[in-house]
């Protein structure tokens, strides 16, 4: 449905998107993940026909975004990052304008407007001036305008930012529902959003794609190496030695070097005392083996806990590796 082939976009001296390629089949929900300024919005704007790429080819449903931009715009519903809606228009007359601009036939316009008003939860505010609405409602108006012509492709640039938690859940459910019959690309830097909504994730940083995998692939890759966190009262060097000798163990580290950055940050530096180890291993659950070994040596076992690898780990690791390779 969406084909992107070595697309580059420059803004003067700034290289915003650097030779990226990917494709999205029909009916897939893809999450664009990356830090601010990674090139997510630029890529999405190219796909929405806002501006053409500097070089490379991008097409939506077989229509090239540069040469057949009108057809592309007809197929795509786009929700821009800056929620921009006319503040002086009432919701309904704004949607009426959008429906006409997007060639919704006159006879169906009224019905389609009512449909999006209902599905975006705008019933109560449909006759109010957009400028007087709260941010959450304006956001929904933004989503409603993207949906009105029943586009085959939806491009949503950070659709849940600035919403309260309840609205976030609602919008995610809406996207999930839409994704069952449409192709959706959404960008976010909220990682949990990706795992609840998307089939596949494309991680992008510095204008380049670092990874493009289905969620299942990502998870299994993360779970090949499993980790337990062990806290022991005993002589550090010997404990480490014993742990390293256990079957299946690949690596033992003190947790101060841990990959689990978010966790060590949450616990504060004081907890990085000696006596805490991260054991990386493959194979079956190792917790029983670890606890038995510690107790057999007469040390005190304070904690054995398996550490679930998260999307955050994967993401941080990829971004860090990419930065390192760029510096080299």
């Amino acid at each position: 449905m969406i084909e992107v082939e070595s697309v580059t976009k420059r803004f003067g001296p700034i290289l915003a998107v650097d030779q990226i390629s990917f494709h999205v089949p029909r009916g897939e929900v893809v999450g664009f993940l990356g830090p601010n300024g990674a090139g997510k919005s630029t890529t999405m704007r190219i796909l929405a026909g806002f501006f053409p790429p500097t070089s490379g080819r991008a097409s939506v449903g077989g229509n090239d975004v540069t040469t057949h931009s009108l057809q592309v715009k007809q197929m795509v519903g786009y929700f821009p990052e800056r929620v921009s809606v006319y503040p002086d228009l009432p919701v309904r007359s704004f949607l009426d304008f959008v429906a006409e601009a997007k060639d919704v036939p006159r006879s169906e316009r009224k019905r389609e407007i009512s449909r999006v008003i209902e599905s975006c939860g705008l019933d109560k505010v449909s006759d109010r001036i957009i400028g007087h609405l709260s941010k959450g409602y304006r956001q929904r108006v933004g989503i409603a305008q993207a949906l009105i012509h029943k586009p085959q492709v939806l491009i949503l640039d950070e659709p849940t930012i600035g919403l309260d938690p309840e609205q976030v859940v609602e919008i995610r459910r809406l996207i999930r529902d839409l994704g069952s019959e449409r192709t959706v690309i959404l960008s976010t830097h909220i990682l949990s959003e990706v795992s609840t909504v998307c089939d596949r994730v494309i991680i992008i940083n510095g204008g380049r794609i670092l990874a493009s995998q289905s969620l299942a692939e990502l998870r299994s890759q993360l779970q090949q190496t499993r980790r337990v966190r062990v806290e022991v009262e005993g002589p550090d060097a010997r404990v480490r030695h014993v742990l390293e000798k256990l079957p299946g163990v690949e690596k033992v580290r003190g947790s101060e070097f841990g990959v689990q950055e978010s966790e060590s940050r949450a616990r504060g530096p004081a907890s990085n005392s000696n006596g805490t180890f991260i054991v990386e291993y493959t194979g079956d659950d190792i917790r029983k083996v670890v606890s038995r070994a510690i107790l057999e040596h007469g040390w005190e076992l304070l904690e054995v806990r398996s550490v679930e690898p998260t999307l955050e780990d994967m993401y941080l690791q990829l971004v860090r590796e990419a930065e390192k390779s760029m510096n080299d």
Binding site: R10, F11, G12, I14, R45, A48, G49, F50, F51, P52, L70, Q71, K73, Q74, V76, Y78, P80, R82, S84, V85, Y86, P87, D88, L89, S93, F97, V98, E100, A101, K102, D103, I129, Q145
Partner: protein, 248 residues
């Protein structure tokens, strides 16, 4: 007919945000006051003069021309600058609309608001006609000239508004350009006879004079239409520049 949706939206915005009402009020107060003073002048000295060369000429050549120059940049400055500032231009550019649709929709919405304002001033000669017999030809020629001059001003303002995202800058720059058109031929001695001939070819204001005298000259009509089209074409070029320029 795709430009109609943009046209309707712009009209809703003009009347929804009260810009149209505020400017129409200012326009009618100014033109009304000027018509009143011109009429008093004609009443005092009119026995010796023709109504066309005194009342109508003064009303259109001196006053109407000046008032529309004051009002129109305030009407046009928001056309593109506001959309750029709000970010709504991103919507327009991702809807299946062509740039000419957007430009024509905006231009005609502004033009219609302007024509409505000017039409309201027809009340002045209508009132006068109940008291005093006169030939309607010359004032109607003056009105035609006003509409054509206004169209050229609006196109000029639309173009300048497409260059910036700051409405105040768009308004000021439009004043600058219009005032330049006005003063272009004022100092004949300083710029020399030859140059004056070539610059006066571009002077929007000089071309207006014949209309004010009650003369409709095909060349003048075509000139104003050509200027309008020229500025609309420049607007199109300005919008299309996003496709090759390195801007966000």
């Amino acid at each position: 007919m795709k430009f109609l949706c943009v046209f309707k939206k712009e009209l809703r915005l003009y009347f929804g945000s009260f810009i149209a009402y505020a400017l129409a009020t200012a326009f009618l107060v100014l033109t009304g006051y000027f018509f009143y003073t011109d009429l008093i002048f004609y009443d005092l000295f009119g026995d010796f003069m023709d109504i066309t060369t005194s009342l109508w000429y003064y009303f259109f050549q001196q006053d109407m021309r000046f008032v529309i120059m004051l009002i129109l940049p305030l009407l046009t400055m928001r056309l593109f600058a506001e959309e750029k500032k709000l970010g709504t231009i991103e919507l327009l550019w991702t809807y299946p609309l062509k740039d000419p649709h957007i430009i024509l929709g905006k231009f005609f919405a502004c033009f219609v608001v302007f024509v409505m304002m000017v039409a309201c001033t027809l009340a002045y000669p209508l009132l006068l006609s109940t008291l005093h017999q006169f030939d309607w030809g010359p004032p109607l020629a003056g009105y035609l000239g006003t509409i054509l001059l206004g169209a050229a001003f609006i196109a000029c303002g639309t173009f300048i508004s497409s260059l910036t995202e700051n409405q105040a800058v768009a308004g000021m720059a439009t004043y600058g350009v219009l005032v330049l058109f006005w003063f272009l031929t004022w100092n004949e001695e300083a710029i020399g006879q030859q140059l004056i001939n070539s610059v006066s070819a571009f002077s929007l204001f000089d071309r207006f004079q014949d209309f004010a005298k009650g003369v409709i000259n095909t060349k003048d009509v075509l000139f104003f239409l050509a200027m309008t089209l020229l500025f609309l074409y420049l607007t199109l070029q300005s919008l299309e520049s996003r496709k090759w320029r390195g801007t966000r």
